[in-house]
């Protein structure tokens, strides 16, 4: 267990993962009632990845996220209450209701946005990292992307550029096995996404993305190297999503029982709980208490989101240069 993970950090990590899980389960349930508009892609199952990476980051570091962005947002410090209001399309949302699930961003905490364009974040994070490098302030940029995105030209170009410019950038491929209904065994022409690192002159690491501790350690090393001027790293997280590609997906492309089995054997929260309570450092009751607090907070966020006002008509024409 890395030295940075004292008791307090462990509780924080657990709280973050639980917050993501609770947030997503809640959106899943509320979507089913038909009240939540648009396309929603849930991160449930992948919590250890966002959490283990973002624990190494400060508000001055940047991340770029994907269509499946809720987990990255929460882990990077975006307020879940504002996020819930955003998903419900309310004026009090993180983006005033203008962005929605696929475009939650908060630059004040270094969250450069979920992204509706697969692979869109790769170049962007090279840019924040370039600024870091020019200023010499030891900040870094992390680009999260999926197995499907790993075949997009923007991601390849970004990885090459990051090495060419020796940028403090970390590429985190979250390989959950599917891009929509298409298997990564089909779409990725080599065995592991991490194997592509050498094509771009950077180290590549494969990590069990269900294991918070493995994620935390691998990310820590990569981020440290980047801060020290050692350049980019590609980390492949092997993990899974518990729900469909988006809400409404029937998932007939998956094997029967596939998710159930993972939930029972690999779940990041279960594994974490087992490990930290094993030596008595942290008790099950402490974790239960966090669960309860998180649940109350998320419940409250939904109550508030439902009650909050929608944007006013005038908001249609603000936050953009308008001319015509």
């Amino acid at each position: 267990m890395s030295e940075t993970l004292n008791r307090e950090s462990l509780l924080e990590a657990y709280r973050t993962m639980r917050t993501i899980r609770e947030f997503e389960e809640r959106v899943h349930n509320d979507f089913a009632t038909g009240e939540i508009p648009g396309f929603v892609h849930l991160y449930a199952g992948e919590e250890a990845s966002a959490t283990g990476v973002c624990m190494h980051l400060t508000g001055d570091d940047y991340i770029a996220s994907t269509h499946r962005g809720h987990g990255h947002c929460i882990a990077k410090g975006v307020d879940p209450v504002g996020m819930m209001a955003e998903i419900w399309g309310k004026a009090t949302g993180t983006c005033k209701g203008k962005g929605g699930s696929m475009h939650i961003a908060d630059l004040e905490v270094g969250m450069l946005g979920a992204n509706g364009i697969v692979g869109g974040g790769g170049p962007l994070i090279c840019g924040t990292a370039l600024a870091s490098k020019i200023r010499g302030d030891r900040t870094v940029g992390v680009c999260f992307f999926g197995d499907g995105a790993s075949n997009q030209g923007t991601i390849f170009e970004a990885m090459n550029l990051a090495t060419v410019w020796n940028l403090p950038a970390i590429f985190v491929a979250e390989n959950n096995g599917y891009a929509e209904a298409t298997s990564s065994t089909f779409s990725v022409a080599c065995d592991n996404i991490a194997d592509r690192a050498s094509a771009f002159g950077m180290p590549g690491v494969i990590v069990d993305g269900f294991d918070f501790f493995a994620v935390h350690e691998a990310a820590g090393e990569a981020i440290r190297r980047a801060r020290d001027g050692g350049g980019p790293t590609l980390i492949e997280m092997k993990l899974s999503r518990y729900y469909g590609h988006f809400e409404g997906d029937q998932q007939t492309y998956r094997a029967p029982g596939e998710v159930q089995k993972l939930r029972e054997t690999k779940d990041c929260l279960l594994q974490f709980r087992k490990r930290v309570t094993a030596n008595g450092e942290i008790t099950g009751e402490q974790l239960d208490a966090i669960d309860a607090e998180v649940k109350a907070m998320i419940d409250g966020s939904v109550v508030k989101a439902k009650a909050d006002p929608k944007p006013a008509a005038a908001d249609l024409m603000t936050d953009v240069y308008v001319s015509y």
Partner: protein
């Protein structure tokens, strides 16, 4: 009574019938089967909204899932078109054109001209457009004006199931690259569609409604809004003629000009952002070629010059609607 099917079914049927007729027609796109390499069903999706569902098993080896590499597979469709195929590639949302536009506008569109006539590129790019799904700024754009600007491309914007089927069959048979724009909100629209194979020719507008007072040219989903407005205006004694261009390139200029020669008044309705849009294109056409007949300013009813907002409260304001059309028609009718 004639059979009624949806816009989505009409598109599926057109693909199915052309694939059966011509072995060189192939279909490709992200999850167009849906399930490549997966442990479960191998045609789980049939496209993100199921438009190509069922084709995979009916036409073995000719419906291809692709990696998320739009430049790669759209370009591959173009290359296959140069080598004897008639590919129909799906760009899931037209908003994604920014990662693959080069293969469309610099390659497919220009080959024939640049190569002195030595190439044909019979490729169709099917793509979903339009607002109304609460899908926000990167999944709701129109963008057909961008394709219309490019010489060498043909651009098709069916407003109903009948046209969708006939225009898609025409698109597949055409020897030029065709951008086939499917409005996502129209997928569930029902209409009479013959089971037999037929084509709707390019460059022939439909006069959807006849009238002597004001000409309305409306595109895609806006046609039904124009009809709604016209029905309401009828009650107030204002008789609108509604023209649906059906293809923005080629554009049936004659039908539009003749109508304005008769009515002297024009409202253009275009769901897209206003600048350099189809609305302005048609307004400019008429201001040049039917000026003598014009009795009033040409009104453009479009979305505002802002991205598409997520929340329904704003998206509903963003999309041009029947009330806005009615107001514009009334203004041009009352203009002295």
């Amino acid at each position: 009574m004639a059979r009624k099917i949806t816009y989505q079914q009409a598109i599926n049927e057109a693909l199915d019938q052309e694939m059966a007729r011509d072995q060189t027609v192939i279909v490709m796109g992200e999850d167009n089967a849906g399930g490549a390499g997966s442990p479960g069903e191998d045609d789980a999706w049939g496209g993100v909204l199921g438009v190509t569902k069922g084709l995979f098993h009916k036409h073995p080896g000719r419906v291809l899932d692709t990696p998320i590499s739009e430049s790669g597979f759209i370009g591959a469709a173009v290359g296959a078109a140069c080598n004897g195929m008639r590919p129909v590639a799906e760009l899931m949302f037209v908003d994604f054109m920014g990662v693959c536009f080069d293969q469309i506008f610099n390659q497919a569109a220009k080959f024939k001209y640049m190569f002195g006539g030595k190439a044909e590129t019979p490729v169709v790019i099917r793509t979903m457009y339009g607002a109304g799904f609460r899908a926000a700024a990167q999944h709701s754009q129109c963008l057909y004006n961008i394709f219309t600007h490019i010489p060498g491309l043909k651009v098709v914007v069916p407003s109903n199931p009948y046209d969708a089927k006939g225009l898609l069959i025409q698109s597949i048979r055409d020897n030029d690259p065709v951008i086939f724009m499917e409005h996502k909100v129209l997928y569930t629209m029902e209409g009479e569609v013959p089971e037999e194979v037929y084509t709707v020719p390019f460059g022939e507008a439909a006069v959807v409604r006849e009238g002597d007072d004001v000409t309305i040219v409306a595109i895609g989903r806006m046609v039904s809004f124009a009809q709604e407005a016209a029905a309401s205006l009828q009650k107030k004694g204002i008789h609108c003629e509604i023209i649906d261009p059906r293809t923005t390139s080629p554009l049936d200029e004659d039908t539009i000009l003749e109508s304005v020669e008769n009515t002297g008044r024009l409202v253009v309705v275009d769901e897209s952002n206003p600048r350099c849009s189809m609305a302005s294109d048609i307004a400019g056409l008429v201001a040049q070629k039917a000026f003598g007949a014009l009795k009033a300013p040409i009104e453009q009813v479009t979305a505002p010059h802002v991205p598409v907002p997520f929340t329904d409260a704003l998206e509903d304001l963003y999309i041009p609607n029947a009330a806005a059309i009615e107001a514009a028609v009334t203004r041009v009718k009352e203009y002295r």
